[in-house]
C-alpha cells in the first residue's frame, strides 16, 4: 500500500539561516509518527512545510501519491488538517461554529444536516457537548486546544498534523488527547494517519508507531521508539542522561530522564566515546 505522505530531500531556511536540511521520511496509512527534538529543531517548521503554510526551498512532498504542488489550498485541506500550537483570537464564535469551520473545505455555502451531525459527533468524541454553545474565547487554553483538535477531526482529512497538541493540557488531558489521536489512526474504517510534534518523550514512546528524531535541522533517526530512543541519541539530541525502561506487558517503553549533561555538544559526546 502506498504511503499517505512521502518527503524527500526537503530543506528550508529563513533568509540565510538553515532550519531543515535534507529531510527524508514517509508516513504510512494508519500510522502515528511522533516528531521529537529540542526547541528550534525544526518540528513546527517541518509540519508547516507539509501543508503549504511554508514553502521549502528544495524538496519533494507527496500527499496520497500526488505532488503537493498539484494541490490547491482547499484541495489540500481535504487531505491534510493542521492543528497549530495555539489559536489566539480577537473575535469569538460558539464552540459549535468553530468546529463547524472544519467542514469549510466541504461546504459551498449552506450547512447540511450531515455537516451538523459530523460536528455533533465530533463534539461528543472529545467530551465537548456541554461546551457547544459557549464562546470559544472564554474557554481555558486546554479547552480551546481540544476544540481546535475537534475542528481538525471534523475536517475529515487523511493526515493530521498536530503541532504540540498537549502543550496546554494537564496530565490527564494530555493522555486523553493522545488516546483520541491514536484511536483515530487505529480506526480501520477511516484510514487516518498523524504526524504529532511533541516534547514529551514518554507520550511519544507510548503512542507513536515510529519516531522522527530531529537534531540541528537534520534527521537524526527515524524508526520505532525502541530503535530511536537510546541513551546515546537522547544525550546527543537533548543533552540529558537517561535510563531506558523497556516495554513490558503492563507498561509501554519509558524514558527516565536523569540530569543535564554539562557542556553538552556533539564533539564532547564523540570525545567521550
Amino acid at each position: 500500500m502506498s504511503d499517505v505522505l512521502k518527503v524527500s530531500n526537503l530543506s528550508f531556511s529563513w533568509s540565510d539561516n538553515p532550519v531543515l536540511e535534507n529531510i527524508e521520511f514517509s508516513c504510512k496509512w494508519g500510522e502515528l509518527i511522533a516528531i521529537l527534538g529540542v526547541n528550534g529543531a525544526g518540528k513546527s517548521t517541518l509540519l508547516k512545510c507539509m501543508n503549504k503554510i511554508l514553502q521549502p526551498q528544495t524538496g519533494n512532498i507527496e500527499v496520497e501519491s500526488k505532488n503537493i504542488d498539484d494541490f490547491s489550498i482547499i484541495e489540500l485541506s481535504k487531505s491534510i488538517s493542521y492543528v497549530p500550537q495555539s489559536v489566539m483570537t480577537n473575535f469569538s464564535m460558539d464552540v459549535f461554529d468553530v468546529v463547524l469551520l472544519g467542514r469549510r473545505p466541504h461546504i459551498s455555502w449552506r450547512i447540511s444536516d450531515e455537516d451538523r451531525d459530523k460536528v455533533s459527533k465530533t463534539l461528543q468524541l472529545f467530551d465537548l457537548e456541554d461546551f457547544a454553545f459557549r464562546r470559544f474565547d472564554r474557554l481555558s487554553g486546554g479547552e480551546r486546544q481540544r476544540v481546535i483538535i475537534a475542528k481538525a477531526v471534523a475536517q475529515n482529512p487523511s493526515l493530521f498534523l498536530f503541532d504540540e497538541p498537549t502543550s496546554d493540557l494537564d496530565l490527564r488531558n494530555q493522555i486523553e488527547v493522545m488516546k483520541r489521536i491514536r484511536d483515530l489512526v487505529d480506526d480501520k474504517n477511516e484510514r487516518k494517519s498523524a504526524l504529532v510534534a511533541v516534547h514529551d518523550i514518554n507520550l511519544a514512546c507510548r503512542f507513536a508507531d515510529r519516531i522522527l528524531l530531529l537534531h540541528e535541522g537534520k534527521v537524526k533517526a527515524f524508526d520505532t521508539p525502541e530503535s530511536v530512543l537510546n541513551e546515546k541519541n537522547i544525550a546527543e539530541v537533548f543533552g540529558v542522561t537517561c535510563t531506558i525502561l523497556s516495554a513490558t506487558d503492563e507498561s509501554p517503553m519509558r524514558v527516565l530522564v536523569g540530569d543535564e549533561i554539562k557542556f553538552h555538544s556533539t564533539s564532547i559526546i564523540k570525545q567521550e566515546e
Binding site: I53, I74, Y82, L101
Partner: protein, 360 residues
Amino acid sequence: MESISEKHVLNGRKQIILIVILTISTFALALFSMGLGSSSQLDMFSTMKIIFDTGQFSCIFEISEVFPCNQDIQSQIVWNLRFPRIMMGMITGVALATAGALMQGCLGNPLVSPLTLGVASGAALGAAFAIVLNLSFIPIPELAIVANAFLFSLIVVAIIIQLGNMRSISAESYILVGIAITFIAGAIVSTMQYFATDAQLSQLAHWSFGSLSRPDLVNTIWIGLVIICLMPIVFIWAWDLNTLSLGGDEFAISTGVEPVTTRRNILIISALMTSIVISFTGLIGFVGLAAPHMSRLLIGNDYRKLIPCSAVFGAFLVVFADTVGRTLFAPIVIPVGIMLSIIGGPFFMYLLLQNRGHAH
C-alpha cells in the same frame, strides 16, 4: 430535549429573525424620518400622503404618461430633499458598516474601520486640493470635490492592490501602511489649511463633518445601485472571513482559505465601498467601527449573518443620527458625522459594559 444540531438550527433561525426585525425597524425609521423636518406645513400625516401617492413616482421617474404628476412644494421637499437624504443615509450606513465588518474580519483586528486603510484620508486630500487649490481632475465645478475625493481615494485603493500582490504582506502591514498614508495625507491637508482663506477653511471643515444632502436623487440612486451590486460579492467571502477572523493565516490555510489573495480582494472591495460613499458625503466615522461590534453583541461573529446585520445596523445608526441632527435644534442641522459620535459613542460604551462577563 433538543439535540445539539437542532439547537444550532434554532439559534440560526433566531439570528435571522433578529436581522429581519432590525431591517423592518430600519425601514420604519426611514419612513418616520421622512415625516420629520423643519417645514411647518409638512407634518407626518401629509408626508405619508405624499409618499403613498402613486402619482409621485411618476414625477421621480418621469413616467407622467402613466400617472398624473403632482409637484407642489411639499412633494418637492419630500422627494427631492428628504428622500434622497434618508436614502443616502441608509446607503452610507450599509456601505461603511459592511466595509468595517469586512476589514475587521480579514485583518483580524477589532479596532480597524473603513478609515483605517487611508481611503478616507486620500479622499480628504482630494477634496482639499479641489477646495483650497482649485485643482481638479474634472473641469466641472459642481463635481470637482466629489471627483477629486473619489480619484484620490482610488489612488489609495491602487496602493492596497500593490501591497496585496506582495506575497509576504501581513494583516498588520496593511494597517501600518494605512496609518502612514493617513499621516502623510493629513500633513499635506494641514499645510493647505494653513495657507487657505477663511472661506476655504470653512468649506473644508464642513466637508470633513460629513453630510448626506450633497448627492441629489439621481446620484443617490446610482451610488445605491453600485453598493447593492457589490454586496453579493461580499457574501461569497463569509466562510473565509470566519476562518481569517478566528485564527489568522495559518489557521485559514489549514482550513482551505488562501489568506493573502483573499485578504487583498476583500480590502479592495471594502475600500471601493468606502471611497464611493465618502466621496459624496465627506468623512463619516464611527459607524464603520461600531456597527459590526454592535452586531456581534447581538448575533456573534458568523459572517454569513454578521454582514447583513452590520449593514442594517449601520443604516439604522446613520439614519437615526441624521434625523436627530436635523430635528433636535431645527432649523440648525448638526452634521451626521458629529451626531453619530455624540449618540453612538456613549450607547456603544453602554452595550460593551452590559455585555462584559455575559455570553452572547
